[in-house]
């Protein structure tokens, strides 16, 4: 939670400086964020390739849990698809792209801003932050009514890092491990899904 607040405070600081036009105009140049984004994706790639243990974990899991990320993706898309009929000024692809952030607001908002413009990027940021907050707040409720896998699906991509300590009390030991499964899958998936949809 602390990490999320720090990330949010960076966004908020930028927002305030932007409103009051505090920085020279050059900072705004889209090229700057593009180069930083490339550096970020390169580093994300390194962290995936450098950690073979994440691939090993797949082998120790119940094969049926491979459906966990699939269920998250299907469920999210179905929900977002339904809402896309209510939002007249957003196309279905827009809505699916926002949903495909799976709670990973930092990366998805940046990618969507690059592809689709700042308006949808802002929606992606807010929407995925809300998803994270909802999951953190309602995790016990989700476990009670939808089973122990529910918060993992609700948390989406962020289950890999932020949520592990938060979730573990709800699970017995063995299940904690499968949190990593969707995390790793989304890690690979989220970068591509946005691209296909946009």
């Amino acid at each position: 939670m602390k990490g999320s607040l720090i990330i949010l405070s960076f966004f908020a600081t930028g927002l305030l400086l932007g409103i009051f036009r505090f920085l020279p105009h050059d900072v705004l140049s889209p090229n700057v964020s593009f180069y930083v984004l490339c550096a970020l994706m390169f580093s994300v790639g390194i962290s995936i390739g450098n950690d073979p243990s994440s691939f090993h974990q797949f082998r120790t899991l119940n094969p049926r849990l491979i459906f966990l990320p699939l269920m998250t993706i299907l469920g999210t898309w179905l929900g977002v698809f339904a809402v896309s009929f209510l939002l007249k000024n957003r196309t279905m692809a827009d809505c699916l792209a926002v949903g495909s952030g799976f709670g990973y607001y930092s990366l998805s908002s940046i990618l969507i801003t690059q592809c689709k413009g700042i308006e949808l990027g802002t929606i992606a940021l807010l929407s995925n932050i809300m998803r994270e907050v909802m999951t953190l707040l309602f995790a016990p409720w989700m476990v009670r009514y939808f089973g122990k896998l529910a918060p993992i699906c609700a948390g989406g991509a962020t289950t890999m890092d932020n949520y592990v300590p938060h979730y573990c009390p709800y699970f017995r030991k063995g299940i904690c491990h499968c949190i990593y499964l969707p995390g790793v899958c989304y890690g690979l998936y989220r970068s591509f899904s946005g691209d296909i949809l946009l």
Partner: protein, 91 residues
């Protein structure tokens, strides 16, 4: 956009080649870049008057998408739980 994905794939290859060296600093580096990018995104949003004026509407749309996405995935998680639970979950 393909450049961005190419960057990531190159990163995966480089990371895999360096797998015997634990690059612990990389996670801090990623976090710093995310901070920087969100700061830039915030600045871009703040400087864009149209977006600032519509912030409430955008927020409401974001809420609908977040709620529906979370609800959908939770329901599907419940369905999966029903099929996985009986014998295969660790006790």
């Amino acid at each position: 956009m393909f450049i961005v994905i190419a960057c990531m794939i190159t990163g995966i290859v480089v990371g895999y080649l360096l797998r015997h060296h634990k690059l612990r600093f990389i996670h801090k580096f990623i976090l710093t870049l995310i901070w920087l990018l969100l700061f830039l995104l915030g600045y871009e949003v703040g400087a864009n008057e149209t977006v600032i004026r519509q912030f409430g509407t955008l927020g409401f749309e974001a809420f609908l998408l977040a709620f529906a996405g979370t609800l959908g995935s939770v329901i599907f998680a419940g369905l999966l739980w029903l099929t996985v639970r009986p014998k295969s979950m660790p006790k």
